[in-house]
């Protein structure tokens, strides 16, 4: 046998020996460091701990999606790998969601599998983190999408993700809180039926409005009224009392409280209950601002009048908790139904002025646009916040969403004094965004007709200059057309309201 052959045999033998030894060592290590792949590792990556997979209750079913895995980090956290059904163009989203069991709040979330057709329609981790801190008190916890997690142009993805949270909310309510996951909407609508003869349908809660001192359990609309079923919590006084639940109806034409009733009494001390007579003090009060009830004392009860033996003075906590409910309703109604939430845009655009909202019932908006807020200032200015969407043709599935602009018009000269884009409809392709100088092209125009902007091309952007991606489209970009549509709506409304066209 030659040396070369011997060396070859030796080489193979040595390599084989090393491979066998490595294999044995790794086999042992694999047993020692055995780790079940799947959900637990996703939870571990979010919150370190001793995660162990537990069985998903086989009886659980939910229309919004399904749970594939549950793991618990001792008694501190419970994690779900959950799939939320797709909405619109978005497919199903698979999410890892962790709930803190001590507080029943969302502790962490991450996307496992994206459902959006492209990453441009996906939600960022920062947007997902809007869910962190949301408390699961019952199965309705995720009925409202947090404002930062509802992304314009990616609403399908946002709602698919929210579906995943709804599934978790339902499961957690049943198996960790011992509650019921039955949709309580019918029950809540029934409470509104006790104080109004109108037929209400559930409305989506505007997540951009901050709710404090309680929860909006239901917002419902009828032809002439808006109904609320709210839970108000104590504002921290000296005598403990539980949460109150009230049904409150607001008349849309007058913005007055039409009727109200306590559904669940919160007072824990006999004699401190809030009577219907006291509640009626709120009825007929007009909602003129978000804080209209902050200083309203007609529905408060002097605590010293109830129990002479008590040393505390001031208003009873129970009556203050009830007032919290009305404050909550006033805040929501003013911002969501009277355009109050848009006032900040006008205050930013034209600072140093006091703006008063004017009803827009008579204002005429064009198709595809909405007058979100019409207001008059104490310095003779008219402010408007208008939303508009693109006017039709989409090119190669490149979508643009809703544009919102704020404008200020000088009442004396009818000149459009200033304007700004409050919400940019583009979600992924910055090149199509409408810059401020294009918006400024509208500024200075005298609004002397409802159609003054119909043929105005100073603010439009030529599509040919941008679309060099094989697109056959010519003309103006959709985004700049959407912005012009908003200005057209401004002119239309202003002319109708102030010039009498």
């Amino acid at each position: 046998m030659s040396d070369a052959v011997k060396t070859t045999i030796k080489s193979i033998a040595v390599l084989l020996c090393i491979a066998v030894a490595s294999g044995l060592l790794l086999a042992v290590c694999n047993d020692v460091f055995y780790y079940e792949a799947g959900g637990a590792s996703d939870f571990e990556a979010l919150i370190e701990g001793n995660w162990s997979v537990v069985e998903v209750n086989g009886e659980f079913a939910n229309d919004n999606g399904s749970i594939s895995q549950i793991a618990e980090n001792g008694t501190a956290h419970v994690g779900f790998i959950v799939s939320g059904n797709g909405v619109g163009k978005s497919g199903a989203y698979t999410m890892a969601i962790i709930i803190d069991r001590a507080t029943n709040k969302v502790a962490a979330v991450k996307t496992i599998e994206m459902g959006a057709t492209s990453s441009g329609y996906d939600l960022s981790q920062e947007q997902l983190d809007s869910y962190v801190g949301v408390e699961i008190a019952d199965s309705t916890a995720f009925d409202t999408v947090p404002s930062n997690a509802l992304v314009a142009g990616a609403t399908g993805s946002s709602k698919a993700i929210n579906n995943a949270f709804k599934v978790v909310g339902a499961y957690y309510t049943i198996y960790y809180l011992g509650g019921s996951a039955v949709d309580p909407t019918e029950e809540y609508l029934g409470y509104l039926g006790q104080i109004s003869t109108e037929t209400f349908t559930k409305a989506e809660v505007d997540g951009s409005i901050t709710i404090s001192n309680g929860r909006l359990l239901l917002v419902a609309e009828s032809a002439t009224q808006v109904g609320f079923y709210v839970e108000s919590t104590s504002d921290g006084g000296n005598v403990d009392n539980g949460a109150y639940r009230l049904a409150i109806v607001v008349d849309r034409a007058t913005a007055q409280i039409a009727s109200a009733k306590v559904i669940e009494e919160g007072a824990t001390i006999p004699g401190y209950e809030v009577s219907q007579t006291t509640i009626n003090a709120y009825v007929g009060q007009a909602i003129t601002s978000a804080t209209v009830f902050d200083t309203f004392e007609g529905g408060l009860i002097d605590s010293s009048s109830l129990n002479a033996g008590m040393t505390n003075t001031g208003w009873t906590q129970s009556s203050r908790t009830v007032r919290n409910a009305f404050q909550m309703v006033a805040n929501y109604y003013f911002n969501a139904y009277m355009g109050g939430k848009h006032l900040t845009s006008l205050q930013t655009l034209a600072p140093g002025q006091t703006w008063t909202i004017v009803p827009v019932a008579d204002a005429t908006a064009l198709t595809g646009s909405t007058i979100l807020c019409l207001a008059e200032s104490d310095q003779g200015k008219i402010g408007m916040v208008v939303s508009a969407i693109n006017d039709g043709t989409n090119v190669n599935n490149i979508m643009n969403g809703e544009y919102i602009i704020a404008v200020v018009i000088d009442r004396a000269t009818n000149a459009l004094e200033s304007a700004v884009i409050v919400k940019d409809g583009w979600v992924s392709m910055d090149m199509f965004a409408v810059p401020q100088d294009k918006v400024n092209a509208y500024v200075g125009t005298i609004i002397d007709s409802a159609t003054v902007f119909d043929t105005f091309e100073g603010g439009l952007i030529a599509a040919e200059g941008y679309l060099n991606y094989g697109m056959t489209n010519t003309g103006w970009t959709q985004s700049s057309r959407a912005v012009r549509r908003a200005f057209q709506a401004v002119a239309n409304c202003y002319f109708a309201e102030y010039i009498g066209g």
Partner: protein
């Protein structure tokens, strides 16, 4: 061979990151935070020590022609063990390392020490070489990672220091920039130290000569 030399080579004189510029991929990719850098450093140190020991033990057994595949086999075994360990016990770090964890197998530092040192030296020296090369890699990684984390995120080992951040340092361009600056400063300082040591030695050797010359004069 002195243990002190092995130590000084690993930590400073032949620092794999700052002098030999080896393992650059993981250095650039994982130095976004001091914690990740530290974790990677420890993982590499473990693999270095273990693979050096085994390679040294087998240095007279492994035929020269198949030494590289044999070394890779040994290194891959220990990298897999590190992977299994991290996945079970430090999952956040495991997820953070991503593809750079299995890529330790082809890290030039490890293969370089196996080939250049362990296969030619006794087990004890090989183990020490692996240890100090690993520690040299670790401190350099933590230094770069620390600088980038402090400037890029305003934190150090995850502890918030301030709100001020420079996004550039968190980016890949920031990794190149920081790495370059740290190398430059290290070489500058190390060369100055070596120069001063040489001068000291030279002056110590010259002193008696000067005395003799005086006597002759």
């Amino acid at each position: 061979m002195k243990i002190r030399d092995i130590m000084m080579d690993g930590l400073f004189r032949q620092n794999p990151t700052l002098k030999l510029v080896l393992g650059v991929c993981s250095t650039l990719a994982l130095t976004t935070s001091a914690f990740d850098s530290f974790g990677m450093g420890i993982a590499v140190t473990f693999v270095l020590v273990c693979s050096n020991v085994i390679v040294s033990l087998l240095r007279n057994v492994i035929p020269d022609k198949v030494r590289i595949p044999a070394f890779v086999l040994v290194i891959a075994t220990f990298v897999t063990i590190v992977q299994l360990f991290l996945r079970k016990y430090v999952n956040a770090l495991y997820a953070s390392f991503g593809v750079f964890l299995p890529l330790i197998v082809v890290n030039c530092i490890i293969l370089g020490r196996a080939e250049g040192f362990a296969s030619k030296n006794k087990v004890g020296f090989a183990a020490l070489d692996g240890l100090f090369m690993g520690l040299g890699y670790t401190w350099a990684m933590v230094l770069i990672g620390g600088i980038r984390e402090i400037l890029g995120y305003g934190t150090f080992f995850g502890i918030k220091l301030w709100d001020f951040t420079i996004d550039f340092f968190a980016s890949q361009a920031g990794a190149f920039f920081t790495y370059g600056i740290v190398i430059a400063l290290f070489v500058l300082v190390w060369n100055a130290i070596e120069r001063s040591q040489k001068l000291k030695k030279a002056s110590a050797n010259d002193a008696p000569v000067v005395e003799e010359q005086k006597e002759e004069n």
